[in-house]
């Protein structure tokens, strides 16, 4: 019965021993009971078991890198969404929802659904029919080795950096919530991911992603349910947010509508215009990510038939539309229900303010009171709260926006459920990381190692290289995690990476897939110049912040808007360069483009199925849901 007692009364036996061994000395939001630790430990045992079980099913390169192309539409679809649902997603967007309101849901709806449906219905047949192993592999078939290698290197670079960011985010969660040492969290979780992906390849990654998807929902869904009960439903939540704005507890703004404040950059806290959301986020960034990022496309390529490959993103789109319920809603609920230890309303702030207002190690007084005071003056934190913070004593402790989800978990979850919530965050991290390293492994082996280092090795050799590449990817990710620890804002950093590499890739793939006239030279130069454009614009704004008015078309634009417009510029430049260069070159004969280009490919006939199994039926349902959500929250 040791584990079946409330946290406050938890016996200290095993837990204390583990805690001491792991040096849990930092202050934390929550203390895990033995039951919570058991829940987390069982999860790790399960993922390693799956890895060992699937090792015998990952002997050939087709099995290791493509999961034998045996996945059903449901498994591929859930894995497709889960690979994207990292701890960065859960934590970062919950924090953004607290900060910007329901505007953050744009990243889940217009910033994902149209692109996912386009991938399934329009692009997937070409990826699937040409039997490529990767997106750079498609570019190789369409534009030759030059474009493929540019895309492969940029993808490999981006993937390990993303993995490092995800790893860092997870370690931060563990530090804030549980007081765990950053290095401990990073090493344990990455070893587990390295083990199960290196053992079982993509099949193991996909199995675990589906498992993690279920866990994320099981662990996180309780928070919005209990939150809505506490606030009196959606209408009660809206009323309490309005009340908090009126009393100055919450910064002024429209937190519950998605489009009404998009008329001008200055009208919303994100500093974004609707054109940036629709064309920058809804097209350049989201189409780039969901249709050309091999991390997600790889899951669909593992489907067992063309119909499954088309259905998988459609199935995934329904779950993606539902994710704001466990991510955005807790952020909004945090605006009204979170309280300090003294019962006053808790107001979250930026991470820089939390750092500047850190207490001295003695626990009394602040390390930099003048800096803290200046920071607090720029926030909407109430004067009495500011006073309590500056005194460096008492029950008021500042927390950052990104901590909103863990704070909500601690608020509602008793022993066992808290362990489940923490496991959901760990699972989110691990699914994101497994996605990154399995994609890195495939691209490294197929698109870098094979063409540049060893063209004629045996299949077993490439599988061995894939396993080692998995481990190498994890090691580089760990290095990247330590590198990004000092990055200013995690989400901005990720957005910047997307626009560097993903958006120009979108331009190249779209031109290659839908324009027969596009040439090899056009593809190469378009991709290269598009990428350089993106990096150049980013560097320009870094060097001269006034350049933002030109890049994002308004002096009122903020970082998020800059990322969206930069993505739009880079995809536009890529498309224009491909067009111009191709017009001066000689196009490939149409017969060579079979399976690669729209209009030159005869797609295989599919067996007729009942309407409820037909991808077009579910496509229409998904579109109706998508429109209804946007209209309801207009």
């Amino acid at each position: 019965m040791l584990g079946l007692v409330p946290t406050a009364f938890a016996a200290q036996g095993l837990h204390s021993a583990i805690a001491a061994a792991l040096a849990f000395s930092a202050p934390s939001l929550a203390h895990l009971s033995t039951l919570d630790i058991a829940v987390i430990a069982i999860y790790f045992v399960m993922v390693i078991w799956i890895g060992f079980y699937l090792k015998s099913k990952a002997n050939t390169s087709e099995e290791f890198f493509m999961a034998g192309r045996e996945m059903t539409a449901w498994i591929a679809g859930l894995s497709f969404v889960s690979a994207n649902l990292g701890s960065l997603e859960l934590m970062g967007w919950a924090g953004s929802a607290y900060q910007y309101g329901i505007l953050a849901a744009h990243w889940y709806w217009i910033g994902a659904i149209p692109a996912m449906l386009f991938l399934g219905m329009v692009m997937m047949p070409f990826y699937y029919v040409c039997k490529t192993h990767s997106v750079p592999g498609y570019l190789k078939l369409r534009f030759g080795e030059g474009s493929s290698i540019v895309a492969a290197f940029s993808f490999a670079f981006m993937t390990v950096l993303m993995s490092g960011v995800n790893m860092f985010a997870m370690a931060e969660v563990m530090k804030v919530v549980l007081g765990w040492d950053l290095s401990f969290s990073i090493i344990v979780s990455s070893l587990a991911v390295a083990a199960y992906v290196a053992l079982g390849g993509l099949r193991s990654a996909i199995f675990n992603e589906v498992l993690q998807f279920v866990l994320i929902w099981g662990g996180a869904l309780l928070v919005p349910i209990l939150g809505l009960i506490e606030t009196g439903g959606w209408n009660g939540l809206k009323a309490r947010i309005a009340h908090n704005i009126a009393t100055g507890v919450v910064a002024p703004g429209d937190y519950t509508h998605m489009w009404r404040s998009m008329g001008h950059f200055a009208d919303n806290p994100m500093g974004i215009h609707w054109t940036g959301i629709v064309f920058g986020l809804g097209f350049a960034i989201s189409f780039g990510y969901w249709t050309t990022d091999f991390l997600v496309v790889q899951r669909v390529l593992a489907a067992n038939s063309l119909r499954s490959a088309r259905m998988a993103p459609v199935i995934g789109s329904f779950f993606k539309m539902a994710v704001p319920f466990i991510v955005i809603l807790p952020g909004l609920l945090g605006l009204v229900v979170l309280q300090n230890a003294n019962g006053s309303h808790m107001q979250l702030v930026g991470e820089n303010v939390v750092k500047d207002c850190a207490r001295l190690s003695s626990g009394t007084g602040l390390a930099t009171p003048s800096v803290c005071s200046a920071d607090l003056a720029t926030t909407s934190v109430l004067p009495e709260t500011q006073k309590a913070v500056l005194s460096g004593t008492g029950d008021v402790q500042l927390h950052s926006y990104n901590e909103v989800l863990p704070l909500m978990l601690v608020r509602y979850c008793s022993p066992g459920l808290l362990g489940l919530g923490i496991t959901a965050l760990i699972a989110g991290f691990m699914s994101g990381m497994a996605g990154n390293v399995s994609a890195f492994s495939a691209v490294w082996t197929y698109d870098i190692y094979r063409p540049l280092i060893n063209r004629k090795a045996s299949d077993e050799h490439y599988v061995a290289i894939g396993r080692w590449a998995t481990i190498l990817g994890v090691v580089i990710s760990i290095g990247a995690a330590y590198m990004v620890m000092n990055a200013a804002g995690i989400m901005d950093y990720v957005q910047a990476l997307f626009s560097f590499f993903i958006s120009p890739l979108l331009g190249a793939v779209l031109m290659g897939m839908f324009w027969k006239r596009a040439t090899k030279a056009g593809g190469f130069w378009g991709l290269l110049i598009g990428t350089l454009t993106s990096i150049g614009l980013w560097a320009w704004v870094k060097a001269d912040p006034h350049a933002l008015r030109y890049v994002a078309l308004s002096p009122d634009a903020k970082d998020m808007a800059e990322n969206m417009y930069r993505a739009l510029w880079s995809v536009s430049v890529c498309v224009i360069v491909i067009f111009v260069v191709s017009m001066f070159g000689k196009a490939r004969p149409v017969e060579e483009l079979n399976g690669l280009v729209y209009g030159a490919t005869k797609l295989p006939e599919e067996e007729p199925v009942p309407f409820y199994k037909n991808e077009y039926f579910w496509l229409v349902i998904a579109i109706v849901f998508f429109l209804a959500l946007n209209i309801y929250f207009w």
Binding site: L4, P6, F9, S414, L417
Partner: protein, 71 residues
């Protein structure tokens, strides 16, 4: 997925069953001993109904997709 050995849904069933039993067990313990964790809305006894839902789903998937069972 059934042709290649154990189904992923079986693994999910096993994990949900274990978690459901643990959380439900804790919730029942709270009810019997009248001790409640220091969390908001503890009076709703979320561990009881959430654990029961997980246990039921876990048993369904564990049995429905058990190894050797063809659908």
């Amino acid at each position: 997925m059934h042709n290649s050995g154990i189904s992923i849904w079986f693994f999910i069933g096993v994990l949900l069953t274990i978690y459901g039993a643990m959380i439900l067990g804790y919730g029942v313990f709270e009810l019997i001993t009248h001790t409640t964790a220091n969390v908001v809305l503890a009076n709703l006894h979320a561990p009881v109904w959430w654990g029961a839902i997980m246990l039921a789903l876990g048993l369904f998937y564990g049995v429905r997709f058990r190894p050797g069972h063809e659908d």
